[in-house]
Amino acid sequence: MHNNVLNLEDLENNPSSRVPVCLVLDTSGSMENEPIDELNEGVRLFYEAVRSDETALYSAEISIVTFGGSAMRHADFSTLEHQPEAPHFYANGGTPMGEAMNMALDLLEKRKNDYKASGVDYYQPWIVLMTDGKPNGDSSELSRSIQRTCEMINDRKLTIFPIGIGEGADMDTLARFSPKRKPLKLQGLNFREFFAWLSKSVSKVSQSTPGDKIQLDVEGIKDWAEL
């Protein structure tokens, strides 16, 4: 019985709209032992949660930049369909936060150009910046990255989640990256809870339609961080 006036092959196969998420993570020497182990486990669980969510799997594009000694790209923007395994991090070296943020912003610009060139719709990108210390890279790089980030946030072109880990985290510098939202301090080493919240939020965004206001679950944040 032919109930349809159309067949699947009559339809266009447009790619899913993407949610670019960049994790900018502190892997400096001070993160050694338990913090880096917990961070690795948190990112692994984040990958697992995104992979198991059908919408997020095809929508979330994750990139990871670390700063431990130098800024380093561990993963370029791609869905977890293409890069299913979470990278593993080792703690080492100084804290060049500005260099890492600039690298993340450059990767983001490049990816947005790719989307535009290939007709892929995308949502407002997210950057998650995590550190347990004070930036000690080039100060001009740090200022430049703060300025770029703030401009994008004020133009509503970026959402940032700055997260401080432990008592040594420089919350003032994190605040300079975030003109609209106060930086958050992770309770203990609750990376897992944070990344579980992040994957749920990414999934929510990837299902939103024009005019939708994305209400992030702030109550959910309280479980893992202090506002």
């Binding site: 109930n3 339809l11 447009n14 005019g211």
Partner: protein, 331 residues
């Protein structure tokens, strides 16, 4: 000149899960020789946008149907202002009735109107307006999104007038128009190439010869079973198709018949068209396989093959109790 209007709006999978009503709305009016069709997609964040979408389509359809002759003579900026004012007034009245803010009624708006061979197309926000000319589907107005996937312009936006597109012209060889919301856009608009799916030409052609109720039901089934599965958003469409003149399907050129039947336009195919037409004529009212076969003196499995192709092409309706009927409109 007559137009057939086929429309449907289905609730998206995301809205089904969240219990949100279908925020897409379609409307069409024929008055004093003017045919107007409109489609609006209520904003996801606006709680009462399904009411706003309905008010916008109804307001614009009534206004254009009543004022087409005046509107067509005015300059574009004046017309844009008048359309926004008309919709705005209706939304203001609805605000008082519902006790809500105007932004709660935000929606996109697309419409097409035709009278005496002249048409007007208007578009605010996302979704696509397409048209069919000489068998080809072309885009009249592309979607207007912001940089991000979940941003667009609405009837209530401050920049509605600057992003609003208004087109007028002579029909010439245009045989149909298509309005679609962004949910439907996911299935019929190639975002990379910025073109519409050629399958829309067949739908417009089919609408011009088939019974309107049958076509509506078929379109609705296809939207429920196929189109809305490609997105979580509501999906809606309006097909405004010029009615085939004279004897309808029988008067179509062989090339068009081949296209409707899914046959290659070759000499052999064209020779086979007669058999298909005989079956369509024999099935003007519900008939059984056996009676049709006897009436047309067909041998072996020939009728099976003809009925298979005709039902697949949506030109024959098949019931589970074994009865068949031509889906063509009576001319």
């Amino acid at each position: 000149m007559g137009w057939t209007t086929i429309q449907c709006a289905v609730q998206g999978r995301g809205h089904l899960t969240s219990g949100t009503p279908c925020q897409d709305n379609t409307c069409s009016i024929v008055k004093d020789g003017c045919t107007v069709c409109a489609l609006a997609d209520g904003a996801g964040s606006a709680t009462l946008s399904h009411f706003g979408a309905k008010a916008a389509t109804q307001a614009v359809c009534s206004y254009i149907a009543e004022n087409f002759d005046l509107v067509i003579k005015k300059d574009g900026v004046t017309v844009k202002k008048e359309i926004l004012a008309t919709v705005g007034q209706r939304l203001e009245a609805l605000c008082s009735e519902k006790g809500c803010a105007i932004k709660d009624l935000a929606s996109t708006l697309l419409f097409v109107a035709e009278k005496s061979g002249t048409f007007i197309v208007c578009h605010i926000g996302d979704g696509v307006v397409g048209y069919v000319k000489e068998g080809k589907v072309l885009v009249a107005s592309h979607p207007e999104n912001g940089e991000f996937a979940n941003t667009t312009v609405f009837t209530t936006s401050s920049n509605a007038i600057t992003s609003m597109k208004l087109i007028k012209g002579k029909l010439n060889q245009i045989s149909g128009f298509v309005l679609m919301s962004d949910g439907t856009e996911a299935s019929f608009y190639n975002k990379r190439k910025r073109v519409l799916s050629p399958s829309l030409a067949r739908l417009v052609k089919l609408a011009s010869v088939c019974d309107a109720d049958y076509m509506s039901q078929k379109l609705n089934n296809s939207f429920e079973n196929l189109v809305k599965q490609q997105t979580s958003d509501d999906c809606s469409i309006v097909l405004m198709s010029q009615e085939a003149c004279g004897r309808g399907y029988a008067n179509l050129p062989a090339r068009d018949k081949c296209e409707l039947l899914g046959l290659a336009n070759t000499r052999i195919s064209r020779k086979r068209l007669r058999c298909f037409e005989d079956v369509l004529m024999a099935l003007k009212s519900w008939g059984t396989y056996r009676a049709t076969k006897r009436k047309l003196r067909l041998r072996g499995k020939k009728l099976d093959r003809i009925l298979e192709r005709l039902t697949r092409a949506s030109l024959v309706e098949a019931r589970e109790d074994g009865l068949y009927k031509s889906a063509l409109r009576a001319f």
